[in-house]
Each structure stands twice: as C-alpha cells, then as structure tokens.
C-alpha cells in the first residue's frame, strides 16, 4: 500500500489565556488509499489533527512531530507558499457545517470554480463546464441552475455536497472530512456519504473521516483511530470494532443506545486516569 500521509508523534499545543494547552499529544498514523476514521469524544483532538495536517492553525498553535510527511513534502518544513500550493490541489478538507463554510455573498458555482482557478489557468467557460460536471458528480440535479445560487438558497444536504465538490474538484490525493455529516439529517446523511464513498472509490484518494458516530464509522470506514485526550488509544479495523480492546472504545460502544436492544440502564463510561499516560 503506498503511503500518502505519514504522521509520527504529532503534537499540537495552543498558547491560551490560561497557559499552554496540549491538544494533541503524540499521535502517529499513516494513511494510504483508504478511509481512515478518527473517532473520540468531544475535545479529544480530532479536528486539531486534521487541521495540523493542513497547517491551518491560528498563530497561537505550536505543531511538533518527529515526521509529518505528505508524499514527498515535509510538512514540518514547508513554508506558507508551499503549503498554499498543496492545499486544495493535493490535500483538502471538507468542513462540518455547510451553513457556515460557504461564503454567503458568493455564488456557489464561483466558489467551486475558485478552487480550480487558484491552481490552474483555465478559461472561464472551461471552468464552468468542469464545475458543472463536478456538481453532476455529487448528484446535484439541475447543476446549471445551482451554479448561480447563493448559499442561503440551498438546503443543508445540497450545501454539503457543494462543499464536497469544491474540495474535490482540484483532484486532491488526500481529503480530510471533519464531521461532514453531523449537521445533517439522518436521511440526507446517507446520500452525502454515498457521494463521498463513490468518489473515494473512483479516484483512489485517501480519506480521513473525523466523526464521533461509532455506528457510522463502523459501516463507512476501513480503519479507525480512537482518540482520547489528544492521544490515539486504539487503532483498529472498522469491521473489528466490536472486538475493540481498549476500555475507552468499549465504553463508548456500550453507551450507545441501540435501536435493536433495549437495556434498562445504559452503561456509563468510567474514565481511568491511566488512559492519559499509557
């Protein structure tokens, strides 16, 4: 399996009002042509890892790692210019909430087109064609019309698909999806996921799927990283999730109310301080 992304002992610290906060404390993983999930409770550092890979952090963040490579690029040494060349073109990120992640005063088509135009000099007509083709690909009906809509004129599910189109149109090798469906309805969710799934299949890209929905991850991804307090406590094939070893993972699974099994009381996660250090 060719390795697209490699992180070794990634650490992210934030300088805050109350001193330094360690958000990510030594995370290591590799990503090939696969769907890698990162799960964990809120605040465990999932998004921080995702953003660190794109170096999209505020000035207050310090990123350290033994290795942080993307293909042939050493992300740790890359300067802002190199990163810009990389972002979008080779590695991109789908954000959680289409409502806030699209520029409200720009036509959605233009926003997608922009992603192409940053990296390539193409004629206007050709860009439009490509955007419309991409919109079709993410199964948007009547893409000609949708091209000219503004973000507030489209529904959440559509917005998320536009987001996906925008991030995939430059044909990146790696896509980081940060909770791409948590703002969506269950019914729309599966549509969006299937679009994503199809594109991964088709283009052979590496997908990092950040989520806290274990049920979803189990069926959608290939491999799962379970994070707790800024560390990876367990890496496991998605299919084997039920056989997870770590008590944290197991606790998370158990706490999930199940449609099929009715339990009088839900087991509650008991945190063990030793998880922080192991």
């Amino acid at each position: 399996m060719d390795i697209k992304l490699q992180a070794d002992d990634l650490r992210v610290r934030f300088a805050t009002r109350d001193g330094m906060v360690d958000a990510v404390r030594g995370v290591s993983f590799t990503l090939g042509k696969e769907k890698l999930a990162i799960v964990g409770e809120s605040g465990s550092g999932k998004s921080t890892v995702g953003r660190a890979l794109l170096k999209l952090h505020p000035a207050s963040a310090r990123i350290e790692a033994r290795t942080l490579r993307f293909g042939d690029v050493d992300l740790l040494r890359a300067d802002e210019k190199q990163m810009r060349a990389l972002r979008g073109r080779r590695m991109s990120m789908i954000m959680q909430d289409p409502k806030y992640s699209l520029n409200p005063v720009m036509r959605v088509g233009d926003q997608i087109a922009e992603a192409v135009l940053v990296h390539q000099k193409v004629s206007k007509a050709e860009v439009r064609e490509r955007v419309i083709a991409m919109l079709e690909k993410v199964r948007i009906r009547d893409p000609q019309r949708v091209y000219d809509l503004y973000p507030h004129e489209i529904s959440g599910g559509m917005g998320q698909r536009i987001m996906i189109a925008m991030m995939l149109i430059p044909n990146p090798e790696v896509v980081i999806a940060d909770e791409p469906t948590s703002a969506l309805d269950v019914s729309v969710r599966s549509q969006v996921l299937s679009v994503l799934d199809e594109l991964v299949e088709e283009r052979g890209l590496g997908l990092i799927f950040i989520s806290h929905d274990l049920n979803l991850v189990r069926s959608f991804c290939d491999r799962v990283l379970v994070m707790y307090a800024g560390r990876v406590v367990e890496t496991i094939a998605a299919a084997d999730l039920d056989r997870a070893q770590h008590p944290y993972t197991r606790g998370l699974l158990a706490a999930l109310p199940d449609i099929d099994v009715k339990r009088p009381v839900l087991p509650v996660l008991r945190r063990d301080p030793s998880w922080l250090t192991q």
Binding site: R13, R17, D22, E41, G43, G45, A229, G230, L276
Partner: protein
Amino acid sequence: MSQPPAAPAVPAVADSAASALQETVRRALHHLLRNPMTLAGLIVVVLLVAAALCAPWIATHDPLRQDLYATLQAPGAAHWFGTDEYGRDTFSRLVYGARTTLYIVALVTVVVGPVGLAVGAASGYFGGWVDTLFMRITDIFISFPSLVLALAFVAALGPGLEHAVIAIALTAWPPIARLARAETRSLRKADFIAAVQLQGASPMRILVRHIAPLCLSSVLVRLTMNMASIILTAAGLGFLGLGSQPPSPEWGAMISAGRRYMMECWWLVAMPGAAIMLVSLAFNLLGDGLRDIFDPRS
C-alpha cells in the same frame, strides 16, 4: 505538566460566591498582563484618577490664582508648563482638569449608559409597537443635528459643564440604544431567556436581571470608546463658549481659550491637547481590552 484537554475542563476553584468574582478579576488581570496596550490604557486611566484625587498635592500652584503681570510665560522652572493669559499655572490647571474630565466621563456614563440600555433593551425585547415607538424616537435623536440639541439644551438650562455634558449625553445615547437593541434581539431568542419565561418571570425581571447585564459589557465597551469623542465634544462646546464655565480648568476649554495664543504660546494648546489625546487614547485602548475580556469569542 499540562492538563489533558479532555478531562473535565473545569478549573479548580474554591467554591464560594466570592470566588466567582475572583475568577473574573483573575482573568482580567491575566489579560492585562498579556496585553501591554490595555495595560498602558489602564495605567493612564489610573493616573488620571490619581491626579484627580490628589490634585492638591500634585499641583504646584493654585490653579485659579491669577497673576496678570506674569501672563503667557514659557515653560520653565517656576511654571513647568508655562502660564496662561491670566498668568495661571498651566501644569496645575492640567492636574485639576483631571477632575473635570473624570467628572464628564462619569456623568456621561451615568446618563448615557442607563438611558441607552433601557430604551434599547425594552425596544428589542418587546418588539412591536414599543419597538416602533422607541426606534422612531431614537431616529429623531440620531437625525437631530447633535450640535443643535446640545446648543439648545445648554441654551435652555444655561451654560455650565453639567448642562453641556447632559446635552452631549442626549446626543450620545441613540447609538447605544441601537446597540443594546440589536444585542437584545439576538438574546431574546436565547434558550436561557425562554427558560426564565417558563419559570414565570415578569418581563421587567427578565430585562433587568437577565438581558441588561449581558448588554452591559458591550455598552460599556462602546462607552469607553466613545469617551474620546465625548471629551472632545465637550471641548467643542467649550470652543463655542457653551462648555464649562471659567475659571474651571477644563481641558477642552483650556484649548479653546489657548488657541488664540497658540502661535506664540504653543504650550497653551499642546499641553491640554496632549492630555486629552492621552486620556482618550487610554480609554480607547482600555475599551479594546475590555472587549477582549468580556467577549469570550475572541
């Protein structure tokens, strides 16, 4: 050793009502230490207060003492900042002027804050005809040439600092009211307001205890930032002879009287001018800082 982020993100605090306040103070202090600009602003404001309180000890002369035979003397050992057209000591007047300035600041805050807050919050909370009425009134006051209002008010009540300041306040509340209204309108929909409504709280109670305190910080911040222009407007009224009455050492009036001599006696304008600038700069910096302290989003 740093705290793991996922562990219950609750800082250890001693549990008492007082410690809640302590925590706020601690955060403010912390912020101050990390923001030299805010700190500088605070220092100047503290100095201003100190100068106002300790004026008699700081001033080298009686600020009102005239010496018509030693007028317009350049800064020197006898008079650090020179003397004015009546031979009064500029430095001492500047020091005593701190009182007036502080008085203006306090008076405007006391008038504008509550009025703007009350009108804005009521308007935003009740909506409907209350909103329409209050906003029309606000519109009237906004589109009223502020000078006309100020002049008219001063003319009606007679000249004097209080009246000038009240006049300024009359022209200064509408923006505050609008701010409070906007804030209230977004708060009105908040769940915690719905929650107290469900507990049977009266609108008055909700306005006073729940909404007003939340608008207060932005109102205060805005007021601090307006301080500069308020001091200057007071000076401007003084320029038209409607501000503080002689011989009160008000900085704006000092400038406006001193301007007649400014080509030959630069200190008469430069000194109070610098003082106004410094203080308004300080208030602005402090206002910026306060916004950062109050606003958790930043």
